[in-house]
């Protein structure tokens, strides 16, 4: 189990290297806010509601019941199968910068007392790109969900396939889809949560294969990149294009759920879909300061 998961509160979002009193500026509305207050607000701008990105660690910290997360396959790490120029260096840099082994954390845990298999992608690690490691770990956690008859919850945040692994990264779309197909055939629930941004190969595989698909407000969601589309159609796209709200209108996702309501919404859906419950003595009360569990948009 990772260190930060032992922390008692949503304060787990806080980064060790930021001293109290530091200000953060919202990239959307420009408001400045104490970093500490931003963190307390689950990194949602108190002024405009802008959702700052979370790392995989932070995501799990604000989602999983305290003390219940058990990481799996932490030792699965990337090689450089194509000997792709610069890839080894990029991997090293990303590991140093983020402290993570690759772009996904997977494991078993509980959300609001429901036992689940979990995965969280990390955009901070090489843009959350899906190479063999992300594919392998998603496939394994889906298989583990089948084995233990648990629901699967995946938080996606990814720029797409990791081109430095060439066609092997493309094949992760098929590998993860095959594992998700087995989950569906086992009649287990799969909740997919799209966070900012979820694009490319991840959308064209597991992110769009959920029984229920949720998204955070304002998250960019789409297959092709905005620039490529603009070059193709020779027009500027509206700001609204490829946002979570746009996808909701176009019938592609089930709901847009603000971060403070996400945990309660997942909990409600997991209970609905019959997730096994933690024994009562293990169930943990929602941490102090949590937003009321009043559901999504």
């Amino acid at each position: 189990m990772l260190n930060w998961l032992r922390r008692p509160k949503y304060g787990a979002v806080e980064r060790r290297d930021i001293p109290p009193g530091v200000w953060a500026k919202c990239p959307k509305c420009g408001a400045t806010v104490y970093h500490r207050d931003l963190v307390r607000n689950l990194k949602v701008c108190p002024t405009c509601g802008f959702h700052h990105r979370l790392t995989a660690e932070e995501r799990l910290a604000v989602t999983v019941d305290e003390g219940t997360f058990e990481e799996h396959d932490a030792g699965v790490v990337s090689g450089d199968p194509l000997r792709f120029e610069g890839y080894a260096d990029k991997l090293r840099e990303a590991r140093e910068k983020t402290g993570a082994a690759d772009a996904v954390i997977t494991g078993l845990g509980a959300v609001e007392g429901s036992r689940v298999a979990l995965a969280a992608l990390d955009f901070a690690f090489m843009g959350g790109s899906m190479g063999s490691v992300v594919g392998e770990k998603i496939a394994r956690i889906a298989e583990r969900a089948v084995e233990h008859r648990l629901p699967l919850v995946v938080f996606s945040a990814s720029g797409g396939a990791r081109m430095q692994e060439g066609a092997l990264s493309l094949m992760q779309l098929a590998k993860t889809s095959a594992a998700i197909a087995r989950l569906h055939e086992a009649r287990l629930p799969y909740l997919s949560v799209m966070c900012d941004p979820t694009t490319g190969g991840v959308t064209a595989s597991f992110a769009f294969q959920g029984d229920v698909i949720l998204a955070e407000p304002g998250a960019m969601i789409g297959f092709a990149g905005r620039r490529v589309i603009e070059q193709t159609i020779r027009r500027k796209l509206p700001d609204h294009f490829q946002t979570a709200e746009f996808c909701l209108e176009h019938g592609l996702i089930d709901m847009v759920v603000p971060r403070p309501a996400m945990r309660a919404t997942l909990g409600r859906l997991l209970r609905f879909f019959g997730a096994p419950r933690l024994p009562a003595r293990e169930a943990v009360a929602a941490p102090a300061g949590e937003a009321p569990a009043d559901g999504g948009a």
Partner: protein, 331 residues
Amino acid sequence: MSAILPERDRAAEARAQELEARLAELSREIAGLRRRGEKEQLDVGRLIGDLEARADELRRELLDLRPAWQAVALARHPQRPKAQEIVAALIEEFTELHGDRLFRDDPALLAGVGWFDGRPVVAIAPRKGRDTRENLAFNFGMPYPEGYRKALRAMKLAEKFGYPVLSVVDTPAAYPGDAAEERGQAEAIARNILEMTRLRTPIAVVITGEGGSGGALAVAVGDAVLMLEHAIYTVIPPEGCAAILWRDAGRSREAAAALRLTASDLVALGVVDEIIPEPPGGAHLDPAAAIAAVGEVLRRHLRAAAGVPVETLLQRRYAKYRAMGYHEERA
């Protein structure tokens, strides 16, 4: 599963650049000679013949040195046999089916039924045009979501009757347009890939030209994935890769090599099961022979699949895709 590939040869790349420079020079010389011959009424035919023979030699050497970029060029060659020609040549009594039953018939994706090797099959194929008019009609081989949904409908028909699916793949990409996004391009591809991993009937795929990323994979999950010798299959076009990595689309050749997108690379990586040899110089020089070769290999694979119980087939298919990729394990 796949081992790490050997490093590429940097000396070879230097030699290739030298060859390209000399080819460009030769081409200028030939053009100059021709102009002079016309102006001064000289017989330069023989001289030009010699220079062209020399250029051919250099091109062959270049092909050996830089198979990736040559494959890109050949895979995109305008005279390369088109998916619809392959379908028409191989499938008897072909009847095209239209529409996704939801929104639109996408001409960029051909679907239909007919007979192959004496058995009924369902065929799907993204389709490029043979001329400008067709290219516009077929959207340069780039399907919309409705194209993928039509393909899925055809595959479900195959599943209902236990007929094999034959997928012929030559597409640069799923269409990257705003309307395609609005109608769920990602969802359509994701759904096809998932359904193909569990479709209860044999699927044989042959990549005949460009295997362009998710847009290709959406019709390319199969029990047998075959590839014409000079076809390519890649997660991103080399131009896009170069633009992202080096902010220089001019370095596409390097990117092509780095991406390991040739048939032999993909066999080495465990992504493709078998290479179908092309006629000397490429499929466009003898389309009939190329198509016959495709037919022969497909026939062998479909015959082999015909005897396999569907549960076994599905387990093998799962195991095959489950094993794709390369990672290491730390304690």
